[in-house]
């Protein structure tokens, strides 16, 4: 019985390892050669991307904070004080605050992975570099999705405020 369990655990482990290993496609020799030859340029490019992302992260974070605290929260408080609490607007503000936390987390994960990618020696290990690149792409896509979800909540919030305005 114990042996069966051990074999099952090992099978799952190797399946996970192989899934991780097959994360990125295998590069052809020519493609590996291109990465090796242009490694310095690629590293520079990645550092530029990192800087641009950092600036955008801080700017977006600042706007998200403004929208959440200075606008959405203030409006909800004012509505409550006027005995006109709006459940939809409150829910949207809560969702926005939660999504902001997700945005912070996925951005940090992405930047951490990008650091690993920049530290990977693309001249000597182009395939390893490419595997890491695929991981960074996945993390970056999560950040992009989070930005999209935050925008959607803001759009819904605006529609709800317009609806409320029409009710007056």
């Amino acid at each position: 019985m114990k042996r069966k369990i051990a074999v099952s655990v090992l099978a799952v482990f190797f399946a996970l390892v192989s899934a991780q290993a097959s994360y990125a496609r295998d590069l052809s020799d020519e493609e590996q050669g291109v990465i090796s030859q242009t490694c310095a340029s690629i590293q520079l490019q990645l550092k530029n991307i990192q800087k641009t992302d950092s600036k955008n992260r801080v700017t977006l974070g600042s706007y998200y904070e403004t929208v959440n605290t200075n606008l959405m929260l203030s409006l909800n408080v004012r509505l409550v004080k006027n005995n006109r609490a709006n459940a939809d607007l409150t829910t949207m503000q809560t969702n926005f605050a939660q999504e902001r936390e997700i945005f912070k987390t996925v951005y940090t994960d992405y930047q951490r992975e990008l650091d690993v990618l920049i530290a990977t020696d693309c001249r000597e290990k182009p395939q390893e570099f490419y595997n890491e690149l695929e991981k960074v792409r996945t993390k970056r896509a999560k950040v992009h999705s989070s930005v999209g979800r935050l925008r959607n909540i803001l759009t819904q919030h605006r529609q709800a405020v317009v609806k409320l305005q029409e009710a007056f």
Partner: protein, 136 residues
């Protein structure tokens, strides 16, 4: 001659406890250094985990002139009446910020990390192009 027993001889005074000041001082110093190392290490670890990715002041990361313009936006008052005009003013402020956010909607798109930026020579595309795609 009285029969009263003579008083017992006084016990010799207790020797004061031996204090090894030099050794205690060394232990105190080592303890303080150890605590300082542990707390500093923890702080650096915590910084490395999260804040480093927001710390634009870290040496050489983003120069002052390259930082995005930051503006202080007014807070919508949570006091006062609520009517259509107030909501109109709210929407005006909201739309301004939302416009700024929409302007950055292409941030973190997959373009800059696409294969074409890594598997072709620089002649086919420039890093500046891909970086600018991400710039607001």
């Amino acid at each position: 001659m009285s029969d009263t027993p003579s008083p017992a001889p006084a016990a010799p005074p207790e020797a004061p406890p031996k204090v090894n000041g030099g050794r205690n001082l060394i232990i105190l110093c080592l303890g303080a250094i150890l605590i300082a190392i542990i707390t500093t290490g923890f702080s650096l670890w915590a910084y490395r985990q999260n804040d480093i990715y927001l710390d634009r002041s870290r040496p050489g990361f983003i120069a002052e002139g390259e930082k995005n313009e930051e503006e202080v936006l007014e807070k919508f008052s949570d006091e006062g009446e609520i009517d259509a005009a107030v909501l109109e003013q709210y929407l005006s402020e909201f739309d301004y910020v939302k416009g700024k956010i929409d302007g950055l909607s292409n941030s973190f798109s997959d373009g800059p990390l696409a294969d074409k930026n890594f598997l072709f020579d620089d002649d086919d595309n420039s890093s500046a192009d891909s970086a600018s795609e991400n710039t607001p």
